[in-house]
């Protein structure tokens, strides 16, 4: 007896697969940390500039130049704000977009929220740059919870909890 489960299409409208080869695939890094000095929860995202350029070309944003044009960077950070969120112990975390900046070969995007209480679990909802296939490491370092989550292509939600 085969049990049928519901199937969904991921990222409809995105057709091309990433070109493979002996060069690096896109890497995104995010950290979710409490800052003891400010009492804020800080979320810091690091994107390779080239990965961002390639991704936004697929967004139907018209002509974009993330490196040269601050408005495109601002637009990209709004996109991140829209697609990266947290739930701590089931409650949504009201992340505010702080800003973005270029440094080295990276584009950094910042979000923050008030300090959470002792957390049992953190769910990361992440639909940032899901195409082309990217590797997205999210490191969580809260007072009561610490660990890493890796978003493989197609994965949009992962939970870190104390049982891990």
């Amino acid at each position: 007896m085969i049990r049928y489960v519901r199937f969904a299409l991921l990222a409809a409208g995105l057709l091309a697969a990433a070109a493979a080869g002996a060069h690096e695939s896109p890497q995104v890094l995010s950290t979710v940390e409490t800052n003891p000095r400010t009492g804020q929860l800080e979320v810091i995202h690091r994107f390779g500039l080239h990965d961002v350029e390639h991704a936004v070309r697929r967004f139907d944003w018209g002509s974009t130049d993330v490196l040269a044009n601050a408005r495109d960077r601002q637009r990209f950070s709004a996109y991140v704000q829209d697609r990266f969120s947290l739930r701590i112990d089931g409650e949504p975390v009201p992340l505010a977009l702080v800003g973005q900046e270029l440094e080295g070969r990276y584009l950094w995007v910042y979000q923050e929220a008030g300090q959470p209480g002792p957390a049992q679990s953190v769910k990361v909802i992440n639909r940032v740059l899901s195409e082309p296939p990217r590797h997205h490491l999210v490191k969580v370092q809260l007072q009561s919870l610490e660990g890493s989550l890796v978003f493989e292509p197609g994965v949009t939600e992962l939970t870190l909890d104390q049982a891990r």
Partner: protein
């Protein structure tokens, strides 16, 4: 009885085999400097203990004569390969193994069957597991991949394997084929056999391969055009090695190749209007190039800028038409480990001779092939980047060893083969017909070409085993492409800085660098970034450029056209630099430890002079410098008088002489002590007292586990600074915590560990003494004033009323006049 004894003995051996040969069974001491004796393979006559090819080093040679034809309409390749296998090994071979990489795309391949759904490191388009209430998902890209593979019958048709006209028994095992020889092949003998093969090419954009075709449906020619990138296309002999025997580990998609060097003679039949770029040298230009093209190629040899062999206009004209005719391009290549080519009627072609001098290959023809979709980026920078790469890499290794170096644009992001590389950057067509590109695409083009041409050195010439270890060629190549990039334009942020890998190195989602390619969890940071950073640290911080560059060049020289393993690299770098690096390889390549050295405490000491007239006076001052008792201070504040103050008439000896008063007894003891000193003791004491230097003890703890040198920046009271380096060996007996005595002439006011962030220390905050608050990125960001136009408050300011400064001035004067009126 004897039997039973033997059995027991064998079991005993089995039991102990899985246990490390040397173990610490008491206490928790961990020897981070233990030599890699048990870890590295035992040196032998083929690979010696110095990391050099041994006196009986051998490797096989395989020569190919291939005739292949491209059926453009069916996107199918058919060919016949005559293969001559030279057995240089000391072993007699009864069968040969060949790689059939195209079989990876077959639905029954091990790669496809073991391609776990939504698993870590999965290649190809996204899929999603059903989780936490969300349904499972497939991307359209994944559906396209599945549809393509279902519709196109990928994989090889091996129609015949024969020798001297007689069929040879052959057995296909996934991406491998065993060919049984008629006669055992003895050492120093050769055998020749023929394989007839064909396969349907894959569409690169559909299946994420390393080669394939790309279709351009919008070209003017009816039906559009294709670019064909052809690699891993013929049955290639698997390597037979001294360290692994046949390297016949199935191709799973991640671990690339290791192959044998040999000589190639390849005839490629394609539509007559195609331009072919290939490994090797074109031997029949008179048959396939026009007189004009041949003249332009000749002109290119001595040009100082690329010369168009096929111009953009000619390529555009070419791609509008088409032909039923075919022609055959013939290429030969000597001493290469692989052979790839590309073909299209869309190609613009430019070339420039690189006069590198030397005896090996004085002239190299650098060439680029690209469609209009790559312009105007490619004609400006591709061939220039190819030549720049050779200039830099050769300085670190050896002269570029081949007659051509090519960069071809197609659907592959970046891939390397001998003398030819596939590189992906493209430009964007605007509504007005112009093609533009963002700055980052230019950086991508230069960066990827440097990287892929760099691979012609590593691993195409220094022939490491990519199937086993991705890092040895990708790590070395990333290290060198960072150097070449910085020498292209230092204003562009090339390369990977130690700080860039901190989050990866502190995460729990990683494996040691020394992990077989297919098992690595996250290939980018593992095989590219971390070894790149490790080699940078080795060069800039641990060995210094002179020692590192000498050792690295020696490694390159030793293993040029040979097959090194990681152990050969580790041993050579150590032997040639003269520095024990076992701790470094162990920590960075065999563990997942990270660097976090904390400076926990600094305390200051002053040498006693032994002279009571000096020392007691100092003690008195030290006590006076201590803060007075809060209790006493508050009593004074309350105006409470003491008994002593109330009774000034009662005084004794001790009211005039405190406990630090020096007595003659003290002085006599001091003089007696001096009298008993040996002359050298007296000299040491006298000098130390005279110099009165500052003594500091610094206490460090190793929180990350990885032992590393401790680099110190000392800041003195006069504002000057000094750099001191404590070698990693300071940790050898106490790897978790260590103290160091620092002696200076001046007072130290601050100590900082790793001030230039060169050791990948994960926590900067604990590097300061006294501690300093290091703001988070967000804190620092908020402090900076935003001056870019994007931060203007346009929405707020847009509808502010317009003001006339002259009218305002007049109004202000009127007000002032009113105020002055009484």
């Amino acid at each position: 009885m004897l039997q039973r004894f033997t059995l027991a003995f064998m079991l005993c051996l089995i039991c102990t085999a899985g246990i490390a040969a040397v173990r610490q069974t008491k206490g928790d001491f961990e020897d981070r400097f233990r030599q890699l004796d048990e870890v590295l393979p035992t040196p032998n006559a083929y690979r010696n203990a110095a990391g050099e090819p041994g006196h009986e080093y051998w490797q096989q040679q395989v020569d190919y004569r291939i005739a292949v034809a491209l059926d453009e309409a069916r996107r199918r390749l058919s060919g016949t390969a005559e293969i001559t296998y030279h057995n240089r090994s000391p072993d007699t071979l009864r069968y040969l193994w060949l790689q059939l990489d195209q079989n990876i795309f077959r639905p029954d391949s091990l790669a496809e069957r073991s391609n776990a759904f939504a698993a870590p490191g999965r290649r190809g388009p996204p899929v999603r597991d059903a989780k936490e209430g969300n349904p499972a998902g497939l991307s359209l890209g994944e559906l396209r991949r599945q549809h393509f593979l279902a519709d196109n019958e990928p994989g090889y048709d091996i129609s015949r394997v024969s020798s001297d006209g007689q069929p040879l028994r052959h057995t296909i095992v996934g991406t491998l084929m065993r060919v049984d020889l008629k006669q055992p092949l003895a050492p120093e003998n050769a055998t020749t056999f023929t394989v007839e093969f064909a396969y349907n090419m894959v569409e690169e954009d559909a299946v994420s391969a390393r080669a394939g075709y790309e279709h351009f449906p919008d070209d003017e020619r009816e039906g559009g055009n294709d670019i064909f990138l052809v690699a891993q296309w013929f049955p290639r002999l698997a390597a037979y090695t001294d360290y692994e025997g046949w390297t016949n580990k199935e191709f799973l998609g991640r671990g690339e190749f290791t192959l044998e060097f040999g000589n190639y003679d390849v005839s490629i039949t394609v539509p007559a209007d195609h331009i072919v770029s290939s490994t090797g040298v074109l031997t029949n230009p008179g048959d396939v190039l026009t007189a004009t093209q041949r003249e332009r190629l000749e002109e290119a040899r001595s040009a100082d800028r690329p010369v168009f062999v096929v111009t953009a206009e000619e390529a555009l004209q070419n791609e509008r038409e088409g032909t039923e005719e075919t022609q055959t391009w013939r290429f030969t290549a000597d001493n290469v480990r692989d052979f790839a080519w590309a073909s299209s009627r869309k190609f613009i072609w430019d070339a420039q001779g690189y006069q590198q001098g030397g005896d090996v290959q004085p002239e190299v023809l650098a060439m680029s092939f690209y469609p209009k979709e790559g312009e105007p980026l490619w004609s400006k920078y591709s061939t220039a980047a190819v030549i720049h790469t050779m200039k830099v890499y050769s300085r670190f290794s050896f002269d570029y060893p081949y007659p051509t170096a090519q960069s071809v644009n197609g659907p592959v992001g970046g891939m390397e083969y001998p003398m030819i590389t596939f590189n992906g950057p493209r430009t964007d067509l605007q509504d007005d017909g112009r093609r533009t590109y963002p700055l980052s695409e230019k950086r991508f083009l230069v960066g990827v070409i440097i990287h892929e041409i760099g691979h012609v050195y590593f691993p195409m010439t220094v022939n490491s085993d990519e199937r086993q270890w991705t890092w040895i060629d990708e790590g070395i190549n990333s290290f060198l492409d960072g150097i070449a990039g910085r020498e292209w334009d230092p204003n562009i942020p090339w390369g990977v800085e130690p700080r860039d890998i901190l989050e990866y190195m502190t995460s729990d989602k990683q494996v040691p660098i020394m992990t077989q390619s297919d098992s690595v969890l996250d290939l980018g940071p593992n095989a590219y970034h971390k070894p790149n950073v490790a080699l940078n640290i080795l060069r800039e911080t641990i060995l210094g450029r002179e020692l590192f560059d000498f050792a690295f060049k020696e490694f390159s020289r030793r293993w040029r056209f040979k097959r090194p393993t990681p152990a050969d690299f580790f041993r050579t770098m150590e032997e040639a630099s003269g520095v024990d690096l076992d701790w470094f390889w162990r920590g960075w390549f065999y563990t997942t430890d990270h660097v976090d050295i904390s400076l926990d405490r600094v305390y200051k000491m002053r040498l006693d002079t032994m002279n009571p007239d000096i020392d007691f006076s100092r003690r008195r001052q030290e006590e006076a410098d201590e803060p007075p008792s809060v209790f006493v201070q508050r009593n004074e504040a309350e105006g409470r008088s003491t008994w002593v103050e109330d009774n000034p008439d009662i005084r004794d000896f001790y009211d005039e002489n405190d406990e630090f008063t020096v007595t003659n007894e003290d002085r006599n003891a001091y003089l007696a002590m001096l009298a008993e000193l040996e002359p050298w003791e007296m000299e040491a004491l006298t000098r130390a007292v005279r110099e009165d230097r500052q003594y500091y003890v610094l206490e460090f703890s190793n929180l990350g586990g990885l032992v590393m040198p401790i680099i110190l920046k000392l800041t003195y009271a006069d504002g000057s600074t000094e750099r001191r380096e404590l070698p990693a060996e300071i940790w050898r007996r106490t790897p978790h915590a260590v103290k160091k005595l620092i002696v200076t002439d001046r007072e130290i006011t601050q100590v900082q560990v790793d001030p230039l962030w060169e050791t990948a220390d994960a926590d900067v905050e604990n590097n300061y003494y006294p501690r300093r608050i290091v703001p988070s990125r967000i804190e620092a960001y908020k402090r900076e004033e935003r001056t870019e136009p994007v931060y203007r408050e346009v929405m707020r300011d847009l509808n502010a009323p317009l003001k006339d400064p002259r009218a305002e001035e007049a109004a202000e004067e009127a007000i002032e006049g009113t105020e002055q009126t009484p």
